[in-house]
């Protein structure tokens, strides 16, 4: 992070000023938040009768309870993540094929899949193949994210030094085996941060199932609100906070894990043991490589043509 260079290590005056500014800003923020909370409190958002439904076990574990919805969300995400990884590898291989008869159509298809909203694909699968909402969501997520992961892997393979492919071919591997055994493993390692980030986006995208009608957590939440509202008290806000907490909990945990993994993977690799069993020293790195490792995001985040945000 270059932030530390942008300003001096603060001296006593600057520290005092910065602290003062921080306090002023914090006070303003707290007051704004306080007014919002007070308004909600006047509206009754924190009264017992807005939250009592969450003590009802049926709300959590009933046949159409929140936990069942969460289960659907997670199972859709799990199946789709595995499928998207497999499809992504297949797309990357086809995209890298020697024959233009394979390469060009794959490129067009990938471009097509990446350029449209996942929601459109979900509706398409739902209406044309009538698979039911659950599988429509799964298939759409597999195809869409498979295309994105395939494109990421291709970019990863392209970023490898040319000598990798050439030496693979030179020792007599077929082009396909060169791709599979030399280029793809390296591309996977380089692109893993992007792929994992995309899988988190995939988890968020499962909530689009709300619109096509798969019983994932937001749809269940909505139905529960409608159901309990008939017995008194608007519960929409409390339900929103509960679902927000669930999503933030899961996503922030996963993001933290991904960040740790990225950090670990971008450390310089040590060689294995020598043939006689003695440990090797660290593989020497050029200063350029060292500089790149200092900022693992710098090169990899700028993948041509891939949406940073992805779908909602």
């Amino acid at each position: 992070m270059s932030g530390s260079v942008l300003f001096d290590a603060p001296g006593p005056n600057a520290i005092r000023r910065s602290r003062l500014l921080s306090i002023v800003f914090a006070v303003v923020a707290v007051v704004a938040l306080g007014i919002a909370v007070y308004q909600l409190w006047l509206g009754g958002a924190f009264y017992q009768d807005r939250w009592d439904i969450f003590q009802d076990p049926a709300l959590w574990f009933g046949a159409r309870g929140l936990m069942v919805g969460l289960g659907t969300t997670l199972s859709i995400a799990g199946i789709a993540a595995v499928g998207a990884m497999i499809l992504g590898v297949v797309f990357a291989i086809l995209r890298n094929a020697y024959s233009p008869w394979v390469r060009v159509p794959t490129t067009v298809v990938l471009e097509f899949f990446r350029g449209m909203p996942v929601l459109l694909m979900m509706l398409f699968i739902l209406i044309v193949f009538s698979t039911g909402a659950y599988w429509a969501v799964v298939w759409a997520l597999v195809v869409y994210n498979g295309a994105i992961i395939g494109e990421a892997l291709r970019a990863g393979m392209k970023s490898l030094p040319k000598g990798q492919r050439e030496s693979g071919l030179a020792i007599g591997l077929t082009p396909l085996r060169t791709t599979l055994e030399i280029e793809l493993p390296q591309a996977l390692r380089i692109m893993m941060p992007i792929i994992l980030a995309q899988l988190i986006v995939l988890l968020k995208d499962t909530s689009l199932g709300y619109i096509v009608g798969s019983p994932e957590i937001i749809r269940i939440g909505r139905q529960l609100v409608d159901f309990y509202d008939r017995q008194g008290g608007p519960y929409a806000l409390s339900m929103f906070f509960v679902m927000l907490a669930i999503f933030l909990g899961i996503n922030l945990t996963l993001s933290a894990i991904v960040r740790q993994l990225t950090k670990r993977m971008s450390r310089p690799r040590r060689g294995g043991r020598n043939l006689d069993g003695t440990p090797t020293a660290a593989i020497p790195l050029s200063t350029r490589a060292l500089r790149e490792i200092k900022d693992p995001q710098a090169e990899t985040t700028r993948l041509p043509g891939s949406g940073l945000g992805g779908q909602g």
Binding site: S2, F7, I23, G115, G307, L308, G312
Partner: protein, 215 residues
């Protein structure tokens, strides 16, 4: 295709709404994003914390849940918004965080020596940012920012689930009426999105190729 051609006013309406949402959200969201990015690298700790919390929360909330808030929760609190306005608010909140991250990554991509040189000739944080970092960050910021706009074009489709008539809604409504032509209708709508996203993607590739050479 026949069904789409016959119903071109409907298509135009959907396309118009999609373009309107994209344009309005970009115009409002980009300045907010730049502001957030600036706050994130600023010397004042409280600003950094607020910006970090905003971006992290917005990026880790599904867009559907944000729409759920503007479309269902706010009315229950007595704030009844027009559905299009609700969609604009939801998309702006969500997208501003991604704009912020794009800008911040651009700021971080300026070689560290530039900031060091600027600091060593005595410029402060404000001048360093304005005169040295941001002008250089601009060229590496633009491609990721356009990528965010591409994602935004696709994200406007979520508004369909919350009573805004966008391009996806055209596909759904027409395929209900012309059941036998649903394949063509969906391909047509997909192409309509590609008309918007592919040129933007090409622009990103072009800018990256053109500007990366000069580094």
């Amino acid at each position: 295709m026949q069904a789409l051609l016959e119903n071109w006013p409907l298509w135009l309406q959907g396309m118009g709404a999609t373009l309107l949402l994209t344009a309005v959200v970009t115009v409002i969201g980009l300045p907010i994003g730049i502001l957030l990015a600036g706050m994130r690298v600023s010397p004042v700790a409280a600003l950094r914390v607020v910006a970090a919390v905003w971006t992290e929360v917005a990026r880790n909330t599904p867009l559907t849940l944000v729409f759920f808030f503007t479309a269902f929760v706010l009315p229950k609190l007595g704030i009844v918004l027009d559905f299009t306005l609700g969609a604009i608010i939801a998309l702006t909140y969500y997208t501003s965080a991604f704009f912020a991250e794009a800008v911040r990554s651009g700021i971080n991509s300026v070689p560290i020596g530039q900031a060091e040189a600027s600091r060593s000739i005595g410029l402060g944080f404000g001048s360093t940012m304005q005169l040295v970092i941001l002008p250089q960050a601009f060229r590496s910021v633009l491609p990721p920012v356009i990528n965010v706009v591409i994602a935004l074009v696709k994200n406007t489709s979520v508004a369909m689930g919350f009573f805004v008539f966008v391009l996806v809604s055209v596909a759904q409504r027409l395929s209900n009426v012309y059941g036998d032509q649903s394949l063509q209708i969906f391909v047509g709508i997909a192409l309509s999105y590609l008309i918007l996203t592919v040129p933007l993607g090409q622009l990103v590739d072009h800018l990256e190729r053109k500007w990366s050479v000069q580094r």
